[in-house]
């Protein structure tokens, strides 16, 4: 089942940074470094999981890739073109290839529009189809995500969370994108509905050869659905590896801590708990050196001074840690 696909690179993100300026007084300004130098590759048909706790920058990264938020610096190369350099018109055209699924099924659909209008809007905005043709496409999209064609004329508030998320997925698929960024798509759903949506995403991926950037704080979900996983903390990627490799061989102390603190049902699968002290630091007062050093149980002197490099320490396995240089 695990076939190594020699697929082409769909998305390459190089040293992406997003700093938010915060005005402290009339003359002083500090920068909130939400994303501080993130680099990764996403291949065609692949799922890259982006996992981390609050403030790690995963959502900002996702939005920056779509240029829903303008990156402060860095390159985002999609299908060979650096989208940071595209003008408005070209970007609009590019938008057809990359879409997003949002976290909150209750806020991501316009409550005053019918489901049919919501799912059909991308087609209308980009003049892909009109009238009867558009209607038929919308119906087929709804059926693809497990809803019925006659749901078109109903309003979002008549549907459950799981169904609304499906509507969001149908909307994202409307323009036949190659890349879908899923920002915590199942976090707001009940456990049994999560399964439905996750299975649906997998089916759609193989049917349409989609690539996913799957953002979540839930390590179990990310391990389940991703081919490769990047672990983020305070704006940086600390570790990036294939799913199984990360599962059995997490190298960064933070990753190890994450795995150990996730509550696990099966006794046999539980890892010895690594106690982690303290709170997640404020993005405005980051520590010197490695951002994780103040909470790290394996810290060394150099960690508080210099930031570690993000290096490949094994094939396909990248870490940013002084101890693994």
């Amino acid at each position: 089942m695990l076939v190594v696909k020699a697929n082409s690179v769909l998305l390459e993100v190089k040293d992406l940074k997003k700093y938010f300026p915060i005005r402290l007084g009339t003359f002083s300004k500090v920068y909130l470094k939400a994303v501080d130098g993130v680099s990764f590759i996403l291949k065609e048909g692949e799922t890259l999981g982006l996992v981390g706790e609050s403030g790690c920058g995963k959502s900002t990264t996702g939005r920056a890739v779509l240029r829903l938020i303008e990156p402060t610096s860095g390159e985002i190369i999609f299908q060979g073109r650096n989208i940071c350099q595209l003008d408005k018109r070209e970007l609009r055209f590019m938008r057809k290839q990359m879409q997003m699924i949002y976290q909150d099924p209750y806020a991501s659909l316009n409550p005053r529009m019918t489901v049919g209008t919501i799912v059909g809007e991308p087609l209308e905005v980009h003049n892909v189809a009109k009238g009867k043709e558009k209607e038929e496409m919308v119906q087929s999209l709804l059926e693809k995500v497990g809803l019925k064609a006659d749901h078109m004329n109903r309003y979002p508030n008549e549907f459950s969370g799981g169904q609304r998320q499906r509507i969001g997925i149908a909307r994202a698929l409307a323009l036949n994108p190659k890349l879908i960024i899923a920002d915590e798509p199942v976090s707001a759903l009940d456990v049994s509905i999560q399964a439905q949506v996750l299975n649906l995403l997998k089916e759609l991926q193989s049917e349409f050869n989609l690539s996913y950037l799957f953002i979540s704080h839930d390590l179990s979900v990310v391990e389940h659905i991703s081919d490769r996983i990047a672990v983020m903390y305070l704006g940086k990627i600390l570790e990036l590896a294939r799913d199984e490799e990360l599962y059995f061989n997490p190298l960064h102390p933070y990753t190890k801590t994450l795995f150990s603190t996730v509550p696990v049902v099966d006794r046999a699968a539980r890892r010895s708990r690594i106690v982690i002290k303290g709170e997640i630091p404020n993005l405005l007062s980051l520590p010197d050196g490695c951002h994780f050093n103040l909470r790290c149980s394996e810290k060394e002197n150099v960690c508080g001074v210099k930031e570690p490099e993000f290096k490949e320490v094994k094939e396909g396995h990248f870490v940013a840690c002084h101890r693994l240089g």
Binding site: R63, L66, L68, R92, R95, K96, Q99, M100, Y102, Q103, D104, A107, S108, L109, N110, P111, R112, M113, E121, P122, V125, H126, G168, R171, A174, L175
Partner: protein
């Protein structure tokens, strides 16, 4: 039709005078027993039918130059309601547009618009209206214009507040994600979600504008005689208040009922909009 049963009694009750006023305004000749402009000095200051000296010919009495009060009230509804509705429309149009722009684009545009709002608010409304009308002249257009101008701020502030919260919602971001232009986002995504609030404000505001217009007329700055308007009748009857109380009382009562009616309907609509109070109403109803 079943939803009618859910509407509380008082709302239905107050809708009656409002409905009547609208009908009077639309079909004045049908409801008015006499020509409101016809003077008859032989019939000056006749009291209403239930008082000694009154008759069914002039149910609510006559004014100082013999014109029938009832007919004048019926025709007067035209002025009051026209000003009320058109000024409200104008005010809401200006207010909503500015509120939308201010709330969505923020930064400098927002600063400027909110400062203008603050400046406008610091003028006492009635004085402002008097000032403008006194300068430009008491014509119907000017009155409508000035009433509209006094009202835009309310809409703008509320719309701005709502837009500020809506623009953070994910469906707006989703609209950008699929490639919607700003214009489309504002018209098809933001506006439909603030529309219902605007309706509520408008309902409450109509009452205020009717009172404003009546005030202007009462001060002699409204539509000029002989055109009847409710405030105008009050103006005519001012000096006769001790001899002929009916001239001021009846239009006064009408203004009160109509304005109260709009306010009650507005309150009811706003309770409906708020999901918590709506639930409460339904629960208590059980």
């Amino acid at each position: 039709m079943s939803f009618l049963r859910k509407i509380p009694l008082k709302v239905i009750l107050v809708s009656i005078p409002i409905g009547l006023s609208i009908l009077c305004a639309l079909f004045s000749p049908l409801f008015s027993p006499h020509d409101p402009l016809q003077t008859d000095l032989g019939k000056r200051l006749i009291p209403p039918v239930f008082q000694k000296g009154g008759s069914w010919k002039n149910v609510l009495g006559t004014d100082p130059i013999g014109r029938d009060i009832l007919s004048r009230i019926v025709y007067g509804s035209r002025v009051s309601l026209t000003v009320g509705l058109v000024a409200t429309f104008l005010g809401s149009l200006i207010g909503a547009t500015l509120g939308l722009i201010s709330g969505y684009f923020r930064r400098k545009t927002d600063s400027i618009i909110t400062k203008v709002m603050d400046i406008q608010l610091s003028f006492p409304t009635v004085l402002f209206a008097i000032f403008v009308v006194a300068i430009t002249g008491p014509k119907l257009q000017n009155i409508i214009l000035v009433c509209g101008i006094t009202s835009w701020v309310t809409y703008a502030r509320v719309v701005r507040g709502q837009v500020l919260s809506i623009r953070e919602k994910e469906f707006i971001e989703a609209a950008r994600g699929i490639g919607c232009s700003i214009g489309r986002i504002l018209t098809r995504h933001v506006f439909p979600n603030i529309f219902s609030t605007m309706v509520v404000i408008a309902t409450l505001d109509i009452g205020r504008i009717i009172v404003l217009e009546s005030t202007l007329s009462f001060l002699g700055l409204g539509v000029q005689p002989p055109t009847p308007s409710w405030g105008g009748i009050l103006f005519d009857g001012k000096i006769y208040i001790t001899q002929a109380w009916w001239i001021t009382a009846f239009p006064g009562i009408v203004i009160m009922m109509v304005v109260l009616g709009f306010n009650i309907i507005g309150d009811y609509l706003s309770d409906l909009m708020d999901p918590y109070t709506k639930q409460l109403m339904e629960a208590v109803g059980k």
